[in-house]
């Protein structure tokens, strides 16, 4: 029922626009909607609960080589929305009248049709709250449940049509020990399973036992390190903007040295954008069909993310990313290290579950700084000894993913984004854990 409402809202605006455009005009629309529950917990109880129903439409108007876009919110009812869309259309026509031709406009008028409707099962709010409060009994739980259907659509005057529905939820939460240490857990799914959730809580309870040990304070220096997938995901996240064809061409990419061929990463490291996997639609908001692209092949830069605009400007071939030129379905090839043998392989060093607040301290050398966070431990001779005081690292990705990279785990973890700025995100990264010879800690 709800799926049909959003589909009709999209289709009726599309139909209405087809009748409105003048000769010599083209349009495209990107539709973005969700109906979400956000239930926030603190101390194992509900701190803040909200429900959000929102529809946004980005209308792009093209007249010859001139183009501009407007994003507007809709009600979902054509009787109300067409007036808003009509006003946006007029505003864009006025704007185009004062714009010069855009020399970098590359309009691919090849029409596509793509449709994917994923179903799922999510609990009602009262059942969910009851489950979580029960599982949190005796625990200091804090976090957020975010769930519900997400809708994305694309249509154009030249006949492209994409429709994508996913139903999913994530519970991103932490369990706190009385001493301030915590373990962080994310449960993301389309089929909510109370038993699986209970297993996550049970594992969290077990990890809390380790966190009760006295903290070990380490002095700054270099330590052998294992980065669990969540921590490795934060680090890999720093690479995301580096593959942009525009960032590389304008010398703002952190992967500039890789691009210039003056350095390489480890031959163990291969990274791809796999549009054919993940949870995002196969099409992007600019109307391109996303491609699979190998970005780093055994340590060497093998590809870039090229939008249509960059393709025209820099002479590359577009590969289906939108103007942001960011990946959304990254996959890292696994290694040979069994996850069960990680502590043995680490020997003596740091087991880091999560990293936090990463930023480039020197973009030109891909030097990144950030903090350890949540369950991170000092390990001696393959045994967890104690949680550590938070440490700041500052090291180059060319070192971390280069000579320092000793092994990747055989098993990989699918990390689904829990970002909810303005809308729920569906970006994914499939990745292993990383064993490093050393990481440099500074504070």
């Amino acid at each position: 029922m709800e799926h049909r409402f959003y589909r009709e809202a999209f289709e009726q605006v599309r139909q209405w626009l087809l009748a409105q455009i003048d000769e010599g005009e083209h349009f495209s629309i990107a539709f973005d909607a969700e109906h979400s529950h956000f239930i926030r917990f603190n101390h194992g109880r509900v701190r803040q609960a909200s429900q959000v129903q929102q529809i946004n439409l980005t209308l792009r108007l093209i007249q010859g080589d001139r183009h501009a876009s407007q994003t507007l919110s809709l009600t979902g009812y054509p009787s109300h929305d067409v007036a808003q869309v009509g006003a946006a259309l007029q505003q864009l026509r006025s704007l185009l009248a004062v714009l010069p031709a855009d020399p970098y406009l590359l309009l691919d008028l090849t029409a596509f049709t793509d449709e994917r409707t994923g179903e799922g099962y999510l609990p009602d709010a009262d059942a969910l709250i009851e489950q979580l409060v029960t599982l949190s009994d005796g625990l200091d739980m804090v976090g957020l449940y975010a769930g519900g259907p997400i809708y994305r659509g694309f249509a154009s005057s030249w006949g492209s049509h994409g429709w994508h529905v996913s139903v999913s939820a994530s519970l991103d939460f932490s369990l706190y020990h009385a001493n301030g240490e915590a373990v962080k857990i994310t449960y993301s799914t389309s089929e909510w399973d109370a038993e699986v959730l209970a297993e996550h809580f049970a594992r969290g309870r077990a990890q809390l036992l380790h966190l009760g040990k006295p903290r070990k304070t380490l002095v700054p220096g270099q330590y052998r390190v294992y980065l669990a997938p969540a921590a490795a995901g934060s680090l890999i996240g720093m690479l995301r903007g580096g593959f942009s064809a525009r960032a590389l061409a304008t010398r703002r990419s952190a992967l500039q040295a890789l691009h210039l061929g003056s350095t390489e990463l480890s031959p163990l490291f291969t990274l791809s954008e796999r549009a054919s996997t993940g949870l995002e639609p196969s099409f992007n908001g600019d109307g391109g069909l996303r491609h699979d692209v190998t970005l780093i092949d055994r340590g060497r830069l093998a590809g870039q993310l090229v939008s249509a605009r960059s393709a025209r400007e820099y002479g590359n071939e577009a590969n289906g990313v939108d103007g942001s030129e960011l990946p959304s379905s990254l996959v890292i090839e696994p290694g040979e290290l069994a996850t069960a043998e990680v502590l043995q392989a680490l020997g003596t060093g740091l087991y880091i579950s999560n990293l936090w607040y990463l930023n480039y301290s020197d973009v030109g050398t891909a030097r990144v700084t950030g903090m350890t966070r949540f369950a991170s431990f000092w390990v001696e001779n393959g045994e967890i000894v104690a949680p550590i005081d938070t440490l700041r690292f500052d090291d180059s990705l060319y070192s971390i993913l280069g000579p320092s990279l000793l092994a990747l785990t055989r098993e990989r973890s699918l990390r689904i984004s829990t970002r909810t700025y303005q809308r729920r995100d569906a970006e994914t990264v499939l990745l292993p854990g990383l064993l490093l010879d050393h990481l440099t800690f500074t504070l």
Partner: protein
């Protein structure tokens, strides 16, 4: 875009009147944001982007349980549906709510706030594009200048807050965000230099701010940085200019003083704080030169307003006075939870997120030294300007920040330019090293549009006004050679 505000206001007022008596509807907040984003990159106009975003957030309280429902369906049907959803959610919380909250009490507030010049019509996009094209064209032809852009974003934000006792608060903020950016590249390394701010006001702000013609200096400094040596490592006195001070204040005073962090709400995402409730009133946060205010009254600062998003009237308060911690950044709810005084800082980024404790205008009060005096008193130091890198631990204590521009200071004189200037420290110690505070001649009203926090996530505009400041014996370092 259709001017929907008057008809929506009438619809919302009627809706609140109809449901106010039943004791369930607590408040309603309508937000409409219109944004124009224009930029010119290497003398070519980037595709313009316009935005019109509108929706409403309803808040209900049932048996002490508070719940919210937001919708972009601005029809009677949409409001009714959201009201039902919020009630259903409040009921679903049963006996499991962390807080039991009372119904609205007190008298109705009727108020209006508007940015200076906000009611004047904006010039057409073509006027702005001409300005941006002229700025872009000022960048000299130089083979090492490989990228540059001039941009402007203007946001008109209308908010209408209504509650069940009859309050009606209109807020109209118009925020300008001009920016300039130049990248220089020598075949191996690149350096980026930029300039930007966020402030409320009218179109004259763009000219008054020094935007016109400034890109030539930005380009020149990018080239200087490219040719400069790396910043040397070691302890030095650091002179932070206002466009770096705002980051320092934001990360290591603003966030740690947010009461919802101190109460643990943010432990899963944004983090906690090294500040604990018992510190207020006695903790020596910084040197006696440190005076920090929550000040919603500076008319052109980015987050000035009359009332926050829960309807609390906003007034100036000192949070840190003479270096001593006085009060947190906590709105009405946090004040009742903690028993501490606070400020009117319950804010939501948009109609689709509920309010939480946020920074608004968080300022460092001016001192008594001009720039020449501050430089003259430094024997071995460095001037740093314009933030480019920031990272701080989840308790807001161990930080590492980097700037675009560095210039060494030796024996009271500014000397050579250095690139990649970074410094690190610990908040609890850093502010005690504050040794000089610039006077009003060094004071700048700035701000940022991107402060992230909250679950679900919210990115909000905050204002920071500050003079330049000197900190003694700070751990400074550069990039890799």
């Amino acid at each position: 875009m259709l001017d929907a505000l008057p008809s929506v206001s009438t619809l919302l007022a009627r809706f609140v009147q109809r449901h106010a008596g039943a004791g369930r509807l607590h408040s309603l907040r309508y937000v409409q944001q219109d944004t124009m984003g224009l930029s010119v990159s290497r003398n070519i106009i980037d595709p313009p982007r316009l935005q019109h975003n509108a929706g409403v957030m309803l808040c209900v309280r049932i048996n002490g349980n508070e719940a919210f429902a937001a919708t972009s369906d601005l029809t009677e049907r949409g409001l009714t549906q959201a009201f039902e959803q919020a009630q259903s959610l409040a009921t679903a919380m049963g006996a499991h709510a962390l807080l039991k909250l009372p119904s609205v009490q007190g008298e109705a507030m009727l108020a209006r706030y508007a940015s200076p010049g906000a009611d004047l019509p904006l010039p057409d996009a073509s006027v702005w594009l001409d300005i941006l094209r002229v700025e872009s064209a000022r960048v000299p032809a130089h083979q090492q200048l490989v990228n540059w852009s001039a941009g402007l974003r203007v946001t008109d934000r209308h908010q209408l807050y209504l509650d069940s006792v009859g309050s009606e608060i209109h807020t109209h903020q118009r925020v300008f965000h001009p920016r300039l950016e130049v990248t220089a590249f020598d075949g191996r390394h690149s350096q980026r230099r930029s300039w930007s701010f966020s402030r409320q006001g009218g179109p004259e702000l763009v000219r008054q701010s020094g935007f016109i013609g400034h890109i030539e200096q930005v380009a020149d400094q990018a080239l200087q940085l490219l040719a400069a040596p790396n910043t040397p490592s070691g302890e030095r006195d650091v002179l932070l200019m206002p466009d770096q001070m705002i980051l320092q204040i934001h990360e290591s005073i603003g966030h740690p003083l947010e009461m919802d962090r101190i109460l643990g709400d943010e432990r899963n995402f944004a983090g906690t704080s090294f500040v604990t409730p018992d510190m207020f009133g006695s903790y020596q946060y910084g040197s006696p030169l440190l005076n920090v205010s929550f000040d919603p009254d500076i008319t052109d600062e980015a987050a000035s307003y009359g009332h926050d998003d829960e309807g609390s009237p906003a007034h100036k308060h000192l949070l840190i006075e003479g270096g001593v911690l006085k009060r947190p950044l906590g709105g009405a709810l946090s004040q009742s939870r903690s028993g501490l005084p606070g400020v009117a800082n319950s804010r939501a980024c948009d109609w689709n997120r509920p309010p939480i404790d946020r920074m608004a205008n968080l300022n460092l009060e001016p001192g008594d030294q001009d720039l020449a005096q501050m430089i003259g008193n430094i024997e071995h130091g460095i001037l740093m300007a314009t933030n480019r890198s920031w990272s701080i631990d989840q308790a807001r204590n161990k930080f590492q920040f980097g700037c675009e521009w560095g210039q060494l200071i030796e024996n009271g004189q500014l000397t050579k330019v250095v690139r990649n200037p970074n410094y690190r420290g610990i908040s609890a110690q850093f502010w005690r090293k504050l040794s000089a505070v610039g006077d009003t001649s060094t004071f700048e009203v700035l701000g940022t549009p991107n402060c992230g926090k909250g679950e679900p996530n919210q990115s909000i505009t905050v204002g920071h006004a500050t003079p330049a400041c000197v900190f003694q014996q700070i751990d400074v370092f550069g990039g890799q050679a």
